[in-house]
């Protein structure tokens, strides 16, 4: 029996930001494979490069060196338009600050990936309602995000991240701004998605969330380690 091919594969990935005088390294030679059904959490201190790692995994950033493969395709070889298509069909993002579009209603926010993909109004509305129902916010479909609490907005963001049934969910501190009850609800939702066949990478400081993970990795100073000792 052969091992399943990884949904996400980072091979020797490094990333640098432009500094005032010299480039500032953020990631150093990161290698990581994530397969379908796997929930991976990445822990690490602030500024260790966790968000950048997620950005590269989801095609929002390109590595300075190394290679990122999404479902077998090297992201650096894709055009901006092709990456956008991959992002809307195969990747779902969740952020600590929710990042909902304030000019769109809750329903429109959730349906956004489908709308960008050309799905009809009827179909995308139905799918968005279903996703909202799954996070318990069916009644909030036509309000604007600013009228929701933080926990509700995060659930909307999760509904948006799963509405197109993406194969990879990337979550950046999804419970960072939530209380313990709301956090557990989010964790359960993510676990349910991975149990249904999706893969998820969750960047977090929350040890409770790590307890639900299949794998816990540690990122320190841009380098990825399998254990906190290695991280030190």
């Amino acid at each position: 029996m052969t091992a399943p091919s990884p949904l996400l594969s980072l091979v020797g990935v490094g990333h640098e930001y432009a500094g005032p005088s010299t480039p500032v390294p953020v990631l150093r030679d990161v290698t990581l494979d994530v397969v379908a059904g796997e929930l991976v959490t990445i822990m690490g201190p602030s500024g260790s490069g966790k968000s950048t790692l997620l950005g590269i995994a989801g095609g929002l950033e390109q590595p300075t060196y190394g290679e990122a493969r999404l479902n077998g395709r090297v992201t650096s070889t894709l055009t901006a338009g092709e990456i956008a298509v991959v992002r809307r069909r195969e990747v779902g993002f969740i952020f600590q600050k929710y990042n909902l579009v304030p000019l769109l209603t809750v329903l429109e926010n959730v349906a956004l990936p489908l709308e960008l993909d050309g799905v009809s109004l009827v179909e995308r509305s139905a799918a968005a309602r279903e996703a909202l129902t799954s996070v318990g916010l069916a009644d909030a479909a036509h309000v604007f995000p600013e009228n929701l609490s933080g926990g509700q907005q995060q659930r909307v963001a999760i509904a948006r991240s799963v509405v197109g049934n993406p194969r990879l969910i990337l979550a950046d501190e999804p419970t960072g701004a939530l209380d313990s009850v709301a956090s557990e609800g989010i964790i359960r939702l993510l676990r349910e998605r991975t149990d249904a066949g999706a893969a998820a990478i969750v960047v977090t400081h929350d040890a409770r969330l790590a307890a639900w993970a299949d794998r816990v990795l540690y990122l320190t100073d841009g380098a990825l380690h399998a254990d906190p000792v290695g991280a030190r």
Partner: protein
């Protein structure tokens, strides 16, 4: 599901964005509508003004030819400034779009995580531009049509026969749409790829990018001022090289520099505004007083809210620019008109020419002579104007015959009947005070630098030499002569009204010419007597300059005239009025005199140059002041609403109770002050080329009114903002 929800994503986002930024959107649309409104008013007025038709006796219909000085002239006069205003408006909108791209970047980053591609940026900007254009077109159609019809109703009441220019009006209004679209999408050109993650995490733009924007704004402002100074230099050069050619190539070159100077400064200042406010915030970083804190917070708000701040700056800037430029040009134009005004008599004088040409019906010979009923005309003149006029006696001088066609249809001149001893005219002195530059200090230099004609008119009806008494001298001068002049006249000096005709020994020389010195065709020497005079005589003379130099010649006493052998005859009825007669009084006198004469005898009135009505400038100031303040106060209210959360936080942390009012006051001072100063300076830049040609080489604008607008608006807005109570801050759920 609402209608908006069914719109395409880019259009839906644009609609909601415009709705969320109501004030900024309304201001932008109103600014975009300004050129179309102006064009529509002019278009309707022009159509109405020129749409009148006349039916000839033969039944043919002719349209009235548009008169220069009517709507066509008005359009030609305002066209350059209207074009400039349109360019500036588009530039402001473009600059506003550019500086607000920071918030747009965030929206696009939010969309990017859901899979939006980069073309969405262009589609949203396009949709926004088109929507703004449609809004502007609607505003232009309503306001422009109403304004045009109001203009027609007020100033062109006999507008029975005209059709509303529907297609032209619609086209004019719709012209706002492409302008708005271009202004919205042009700023998207250039690098706009920004890290989505950096945007979402609120990481400031890369240093290079911010530096580029700041540098661009600063560079544009510097370039604008450089162009303005260059325009001034070219204007100065033109004035030095070609002082009497106000429309020379130098002038055009100066304005071709001044116009881009204005556009560069306005765009640059708009781009630079957030950076300028950020610099103020930074400068006050270490200050610790409540006032400094309020200024710092206000500056930070202005720097970080370009979507609100820049359109407000742009609109107030435009109001100040239009007011200052228009009133400055009007004032300088009026000043030039006063200086260049061609006086015909002294101020508030009225005259009736009493000489009839007496054209011969059988030959091309004229024999000018006084009309028959002088006493009757004088009686009518005096009674209708309630004055005691003087009948001045003039001496017939030589003149050129009137241009006529001879019996074969060939051009020629009507000949004058010269007496055997010729006709006298004064000689221009070659060694007098004007020629030698030794004019007495008490005499106005303008006496020697008078414009054409530099010689006394060789006219068949206008006289150069006058014969009379002190009362005649008084009415010619428009006031009683001074003691010296009176004494000179009483000792039989000739009183000369133009210093150039008095020689170095204080004598006036008269030359008598005959027909041999006056050739009746277009030949060399046509405009001056040629050859040797028939005879020459001199008389002791005293100069008595007129308040407003006109070609009036010299007055001699009866005795002096007799000594010289001069023959005088009644030539001019002249009166000094106590004040300017009304139009109806003028018309009454005109009708009465004309009806009493078989000839074309009529009175002329000298009321002096027209001056700008201060009420007009004051009215314009009130409109500009009111408009600017309304925008400023609305902006302050919006800023306070948007910052209510921050103010609540500050208050809960122990900030002084009136921190909200203080911040609002300083926000108004900074933002509105920036706009009024830049708008005023831009207008001054535009007027720079015309400064050197002015009589008073200093800025000709209405200093007080412009000062009130530039300084008063920010201060009043700040005072109102500071006086507003903080009120309760509602809780916002987050």
């Amino acid at each position: 599901m609402s209608v908006i929800s069914r719109l395409p994503l880019s259009l839906r986002l644009a609609v909601r964005q415009l709705r969320a930024e109501r004030l900024a959107s309304a201001l932008t649309a109103a600014a975009l509508a300004v050129p179309s409104i102006g064009a529509l008013v002019a278009l309707i007025a022009l159509r109405v003004d020129n749409g009148r038709t006349y039916i000839n006796n033969d039944g043919t219909i002719v349209d009235e030819v548009p008169a220069f000085g009517g709507s066509v002239g008005f359009l030609l006069a305002i066209a350059p400034i209207a074009t400039l205003v349109a360019v500036i408006i588009a530039a402001i909108v473009a600059a506003a779009t550019l500086v607000r791209s920071r918030s747009q970047d965030h929206t696009l980053a939010l969309l990017a995580i859901a899979g939006a591609d980069t073309t969405l940026r262009f589609r949203i900007a396009s949709a926004r531009g088109i929507l703004l254009g449609i809004l502007a077109a609607i505003i232009a159609a309503i306001v422009g049509t109403a304004g045009g019809l109001l203009y027609a109703a007020l100033f062109l009441p006999d507008r029975a026969e005209y059709g509303f220019p529907t297609i032209a009006a619609a086209t004019t209004a719709l012209a706002s749409i492409p302008v708005a679209w271009v202004a919205s999408v042009v700023p998207l050109a250039g690098p706009n790829q920004r890290s989505v993650l950096a945007e979402l995490r609120g990481i400031p733009s890369p240093v290079a990018r911010r530096w580029q924007r700041t540098r661009s704004g600063r560079l544009l402002v510097i370039l604008g001022f450089a162009c303005g100074l260059a325009a001034l230099a070219v204007g100065l050069t033109g004035n030095a090289v070609l002082p009497d050619s106000p429309l020379s190539a130098f002038f055009l070159a100066a304005y071709s520099l001044a116009v881009p100077a204005v556009v560069l400064v306005i765009i640059g200042a708009s781009l630079q505004a957030p950076t300028a406010f950020a610099a103020i915030e930074k400068a006050l970083g270490r200050a610790n007083s409540p006032r400094a804190s309020a200024i710092r917070l206000a500056a930070r708000d202005a720097a970080t809210s370009p979507a609100r701040t820049v359109p407000i700056i742009g609109t107030i800037m435009l109001v100040c620019f239009i007011f200052t430029a228009f009133t400055t040009f009007s004032r300088s134009s009026a000043e030039t008109n006063v200086v260049d005004y061609p006086w015909s008599l002294q101020l508030n004088q009225s005259a009736v020419h009493l000489i009839d040409q007496n054209w011969s019906e059988t030959s091309d010979v004229a024999n000018p002579a006084p009309i028959d009923n002088i006493d009757e005309i004088k009686a009518i003149f005096d009674s209708t104007l309630d004055v005691d006029s003087r009948v001045l006696r003039g001496v017939k001088g030589p003149y050129y015959g009137q241009p006529i066609d001879d019996d074969k249809g060939m051009p020629g001149r009507m000949e004058i009947a010269f007496p055997a001893r010729g006709l006298p005219t004064p000689r221009l002195a070659t060694d007098g005070p004007c020629a030698t530059g030794t004019l007495a200090g008490a005499m106005s230099p303008t006496q020697c630098a008078r414009p054409e004609p530099w010689y006394f008119p060789l006219s068949d009806v206008d006289r150069t030499l006058w014969v009379g008494d002190v009362d005649d001298l008084t009415v010619i001068l428009g006031h009683a002569p001074d003691t010296e002049t009176r004494a000179a006249f009483e000792r039989r000096d000739a009183i000369v009204f133009d210093a150039r005709y008095v020689d170095g020994s204080s004598h006036l020389t008269l030359d008598w010419f005959g027909p041999q010195q006056f050739v009746p065709e277009n030949e060399p020497g046509e405009f001056l007597p040629t050859g040797t005079p028939l005879r020459t005589k001199s008389v002791s003379a005293t100069v008595a300059p007129l308040s407003h130099p006109i070609a009036f010649g010299a007055l001699l006493s009866t005795e002096t005239a007799d000594d010289l052998g001069l023959v005088s005859e009644p030539s001019l009825l002249l009166a000094q009025l106590d004040s300017a007669p009304s139009e109806s009084e003028q018309q009454q006198a005109d009708d009465a005199i004309y009806s009493a004469s078989d000839e074309s005898v009529f009175p002329t009135f000298e009321l002096g140059p027209s001056r700008p009505d201060p009420v007009w400038v004051f009215g314009a100031l009130l409109i500009a002041l009111g408009g600017s303040l309304a925008i400023a106060i609305t902006a302050v209210g919006l800023a306070r609403f948007e910052n209510r959360g921050a103010i609540k936080t500050l208050t809960s942390l122990g900030a002084e109770p009136r921190i909200g009012s203080r911040v609002s006051g300083w926000y108004a001072t900074l933002v509105v002050g920036y706009a009024t100063v830049i708008g005023t300076v831009s207008a001054i830049l535009l007027t720079l080329p015309s400064w050197p040609g002015l009589v008073n080489p200093f800025w000709p604008g209405p200093l007080l009114e412009v000062g009130v607008l530039a300084v008063g608006v920010p201060l009043i807005a700040a005072a109102i903002a500071s006086a507003l109570p903080d009120g309760r801050v509602s809780r916002t759920r987050r």
